[in-house]
């Protein structure tokens, strides 16, 4: 029983949100300090009587979370944005302290909350490998040994002595991931870092993570990519609103997590009232069809419109795109569409409410349940993924109008134009 690598017991973390604490200026603090003797007694009794006075300004990012990870186990953590996944990793890696409860870790621990932390744009690829490696906790000698491997994995041999600021986004993330992937602690905490680069590189990344997992390292793996979680993790923790909703075998948890019964069908409304520092707020989204079928159920042969309502809260200077992804019931992304694909940069930049409509033709998605993920990308920054909301709502493609054999292979079942000509031999 005692061969745990991570043991978490009733871990809680309270965050202050809003303006109360942070905008206290020096002057206010000094005044407070001067008057403290007069207020001390009163304040103390107040605090004792009403601990909830600041409840509006606080949020439990984690509340009474307990679980245990054995040595050598690879455990996934899933949950919506704001479920407390990153906070959990931050506490386990000692970046921030818990408010109450405790956690124990056994062995050298490395964490990857972000790739490329500490990269300096003015330094060359070679220099950044060393800098980033040391920042992530590797020894200089260790980096020296793995240097060639890191460079080869990132495929940047030719640009080793070019400042990183001249790199393309792809090269940058490849290098950043490559350094991170060669970290070899006994316990590895990984936040959503696989969502980088192109599809080929992502595959390579997941493969690399698989190797790491099979070396017998203990890995805690946060991801929105259900496919990757399913591949890498035997057991998964589902966090919801800062609490453990469910722990169990990965396939069971993913199934429950993606199960439409726990989510909305055909339509979604943003319930987050305060999305801090976002220029664009997604308001709602829904699936609509021409026919008068039920909400969220689409005939196979019909096609549908995805309508996304959003609000520009402050005028936008940088190029951005609205993104949605349709995933199947096991979380595998079927396709992703960006609004700039077809309408280009000619988009509203002024504040106000807008509705974007995308038509998805019929006769492509095979009957089944699909989820829609929505997000906003700022395209000029290094994969600055702002507000990507995974699996927000679900819709179903019904078999009405589906005339093909139900067992036909493949992820999609497009009906494609064929023609036959007589060949003249």
């Amino acid at each position: 029983m005692s061969n745990f690598a991570i043991r978490v017991e009733n871990l809680s973390k309270l965050y202050r949100i809003g303006q109360y604490e942070y905008h206290k200026t020096l002057r206010e603090s000094i005044m407070e300090a001067i008057f403290t003797p007069f207020h001390l007694i009163r304040a103390k009794s107040q605090r004792a009587n009403s601990p909830q006075t600041n409840e509006d300004n606080t949020i439990w990012a984690l509340k009474d979370v307990s679980f245990e990870v054995k040595q050598g186990e690879v455990v996934g953590i899933i949950g919506r944005n704001g479920a407390g996944k990153t906070t959990l990793l931050k506490i386990l890696s000692s970046i921030t302290e818990p408010t109450s409860g405790r956690a124990q870790t056994r062995g050298r621990l490395g964490s990857l909350l972000e790739i490329g932390t500490g990269f300096h744009p003015e330094l060359t690829g070679r220099e950044n490998i060393y800098l980033n490696g040391v920042i992530l906790g590797m020894k200089r000698s260790e980096i020296g040994e793995k240097f060639d491997e890191i460079v080869a994995f990132a495929e940047i041999e030719k640009f080793l002595d070019t400042p990183v600021k001249r790199y393309s986004t792809g090269m940058y993330v490849r290098l950043a991931f490559s350094v991170a992937a060669h970290l070899e602690p006994e316990i590895l905490l990984v936040d959503e870092v696989l969502a980088v680069g192109d599809a080929t590189f992502q595959k390579k990344c997941i493969g690399k993570m698989g190797d790491i997992a099979h070396e017998g390292r203990t890995v805690l793996f946060v991801s929105h990519n259900m496919g990757a979680i399913g591949q890498l993790c035997k057991r998964t923790v589902w966090l919801d609103g800062g609490q453990v909703k469910k722990i169990g075998p990965t396939y069971e948890i993913i199934h429950d997590y993606l199960n439409p019964s726990t989510s909305t069908i055909g339509t979604w409304h943003n319930s987050l009232t305060n999305e801090v520092d976002s220029e664009i707020k997604l308001v709602s989204a829904s699936i609509s069809t021409k026919g008068k079928s039920q909400t969220g159920i689409v005939r196979f042969d019909e096609g549908f419109n995805l309508e996304i309502d959003y609000e520009i809260q402050t005028p936008i200077g940088s190029p951005w795109t609205l993104v949605f992804r349709v995933s199947d019931s096991s979380g595998v992304g079927i396709f992703t569409s960006w609004d700039i694909d077809s309408i280009g940069e000619d988009k509203p930049k002024e504040t106000g409410r807008y509705c974007a409509i995308c038509h998805v033709p019929g006769k492509i998605l095979r009957p089944g349940t699909y989820s829609v993920s929505l997000g906003i990308y700022f395209t000029n920054t290094n994969m600055h993924i702002s507000n990507f909301h995974e699996h927000l709502f679900y819709f179903e493609i019904s078999s009405v109008g589906y005339t093909m054999n139900a067992n036909r292979g493949g992820i999609i079942t497009p009906i494609l134009p064929w023609s036959i000509e007589r060949s003249h031999v």
Partner: protein
């Protein structure tokens, strides 16, 4: 759809029967709990992260003069032009005494350690906020950051020292035996910069007012340090009390070691004690605030 994921999971996870070298009972256990009160400075922890310190210093030095036309010449320009201005206005016009030495070298000898101190103070007080991305994503003893910004000023100091040596040759001034104490005076300046930097950097995380305080502070501190004038302008009980400004000890020490002015004596003792107090109190305050840096910065 359940079977789909299930199958992948099973394929990828043949029951791991082979012995695993990474599973061991004897790894040290680290306990993470809300901290209470003072939990020590954990200097041993800092030692473990010495390579990080080294690389952050190296980064600061490498990056400092990138994309500047004059490059490392900036390390000289700052104290050199201050010397020119001081020589003109204080030396020539105001006829400030310089203890029988040529005024330019009298003031430049003070400006070299001063510039090191002022830059160290400036860089370190902004260091935590400037490295916010590191602090919120990676764990390491936060002390590494202000330390590295003070240390990285040592190269500039060395460059400015070369110019000073050149000037000594020019004015035909030869250092006395007291020059062996020079590293000690440099250390005193470093401790003062670090002590103040620890206070200000930790305060800066919570109160961005610090950004506006630092320029004013350095300016006032410059003129309350005997850089443009000798401390011998003051009569005795006051002259020793002048050491309460630790930079007085540094500046007078440099002049004694290099130019052979009268030894700073008691001033040095007072300065040393004040600098140490600054460092210790700064480190304690820093350590108390450290745990909230990632949440607040």
């Amino acid at each position: 759809m359940k079977t789909n994921v299930d199958k992948i999971a099973l394929e990828r996870h043949p029951d791991n029967k082979r012995p695993n070298r990474l599973i061991r009972e004897d790894y040290p256990i680290k306990v993470i709990e809300p901290s209470t009160g003072l939990s020590g400075l954990r200097l041993g922890n800092l030692w473990m992260y010495r390579e990080l310190l080294y690389f952050l210093v190296w980064r600061d030095i490498k990056v400092r003069y990138k994309q500047t036309v004059l490059g490392a010449a900036w390390a000289i320009i700052q104290p050199f032009f201050a010397m020119v201005v001081f020589s003109l206005f204080f030396g020539r016009l105001a006829q400030v005494p310089s203890g029988g030495l040529p005024y330019p070298i009298f003031t430049y000898t003070a400006l070299v350690p001063w510039t090191f101190f002022a830059n160290g103070l400036n860089q370190s007080s902004n260091s935590l906020v400037g490295n916010a991305n590191l602090i919120s994503k990676i764990y390491f003893p936060r002390l590494v950051i202000p330390l590295s910004s003070v240390f990285s000023g040592l190269l500039d100091f060395a460059i400015a020292m070369v110019v000073l040596l050149g000037m000594m040759v020019f004015y035909d001034i030869w250092p006395t035996v007291a020059i062996i104490w020079l590293p000690l005076f440099l250390l005193l300046g470093l401790v003062t910069a670090l002590g103040t930097g620890l206070w200000l950097s930790a305060l800066n995380v919570r109160y961005r007012d610090v950004r506006y305080v630092v320029p004013v502070l350095t300016q006032l501190w410059l003129f309350s340090t005997p850089i443009a004038y000798p401390s011998s302008l003051l009569s005795e009980p006051w002259r020793t009390l002048y050491g309460l400004n630790p930079m007085t000890g540094v500046v007078e020490g440099f002049r004694w070691a290099l130019l052979g002015t009268s030894p700073p004596g008691l001033i040095l003792g007072v300065s040393g004690v004040v600098a140490l107090l600054l460092l210790i109190s700064g480190a304690i305050y820093f350590q108390r605030m450290e745990r909230t840096f990632a949440d607040v910065v």
